[in-house]
Amino acid sequence: MTLDHRTDYVRHVRAGIAVLVYPLQYLVSMPADFLDWTGETLASRESLQEQNADLQRENQALRSQLHKLTFIEAENRHLRELLQSSKRIGERVLIAELLSVDLDPYRKQVVVNKGHQDDLLYPGQPVVDAYGVMGKLVHVNPFSSTAMLITDPNHALPIQVNRNGLRAVAVGMGSEGLLELPHLPNNADIKEGDLLVTSGLGCVFPAGYPAARVTEVTTNPSLPFARIVAQPLAHLDRSREVLLVWPSSETLPEMQKPCSFAVEETP
């Protein structure tokens, strides 16, 4: 147990047993998948048409925004070239599905149906969904991996306030499914409704992904720090599909190579 806690030597033993457990996890998650599938198959023609029309509208709206975005990206790259700083390159992503199985009820973890047989995954890899940051991988097994969600009490996420760039650390609160921002002074410039994005410090998550929205700021003059609670933007308990991200070294902060160790791990 000490070996597992402190070092990485028993990783292969864990991976071996995980291969044995995976069929069972797959089997257990099948009824939920089957329900999804029947729901999709038996959906009526009208609702499908309606959904199709909705999606087309949304697609058009998004596409027009994307055009703007490519323009802004090009402009950004140009400006960065003028400033002679490294340019930002898009990250590589892989779509994975969650298996509907329960793990330890006291921690916030999920099982993903991709392992190192599928791609070059590595522990510590960021997991995001369409709405925001979900967590990061903690164990990569041959056919499946486990990810720790950002609401796990052992998880801390370096973030910054999108409005003014104020940096902080968002620590998971466990069963409540919320995040807490400890050690911010009472006079910190943070309000309810502020968007928190990843800051990229810590060299695990690429900078700029939306993470959470502040829901509660309580200042008590008798306490040294304000109590700040935020709601994760990712649909932690609803998303079925997640994205595994390979951050490119360029999206990590541009100091004097602070993240060289993280980049070495990244294939």
Binding site: A18, D104, Y106, V138
Partner: protein, 162 residues
């Protein structure tokens, strides 16, 4: 292993697999805390019923499976299960003649012990969820023990596991 003497190994294996499946099947968040320790109960039953076949080493292996499927520290459930297997082997002759409610209490105690060991290891690694939350499964295991016991005894007699 002497196949002429030992029969029904597949039933033991199947019951363990089913218990593991019940352990990871998704439940609503409210009920999740109350999930009984199915694997521990099945292990206790087999240790009690066929102590010559299921023992500490099987307990340890089953615990390892649970470690991986719960993504816990490798070995924490293995240690706890090996210990409860040992205790059940030690007490199996007394447990067998207990009336069922007394058995249920003993099982509750054994599962409490398992939970406490896991809690202790979690505390050491800095992720303790709080003692009362950890002891809820012991209580629900106590309630479910008669079901498990009667079901497994029926199966064991029907398939003559020895």
């Amino acid at each position: 292993m002497n196949t002429g003497k030992h029969r029904g190994g597949w039933l033991i294996l199947f019951s363990f697999v089913l218990a593991l499946a019940l352990t990871i099947v998704p439940l609503p968040a409210m009920l999740e805390l109350f999930r009984p320790e199915w694997l521990a109960m099945v292990l206790i039953y087999w240790c009690m019923a066929v102590p010559t076949r299921v023992g500490v080493s099987i307990g340890w292996l089953v615990g390892l499976m649970l470690d991986v499927s719960r993504d816990a520290l490798l070995g924490q459930y293995a240690l706890a299960f090996a210990l409860i297997a040992f205790l059940t082997l030690h007490l199996h002759q007394r447990l067998r003649v207990f009336p069922i409610w007394q058995q249920a209490l003993s099982v509750g105690l054994l599962v409490t012990l398992e939970c406490l060991i896991v809690l202790w290891i979690k505390g050491l690694t800095g992720q303790s969820p709080g003692i009362w939350k950890m002891l809820v499964p012991a209580f629900s295991s106590l309630l479910f023990w008669p079901v498990i016991y009667l079901l497994l005894r029926y199966m064991r007699r029907a398939y003559q596991v020895s």
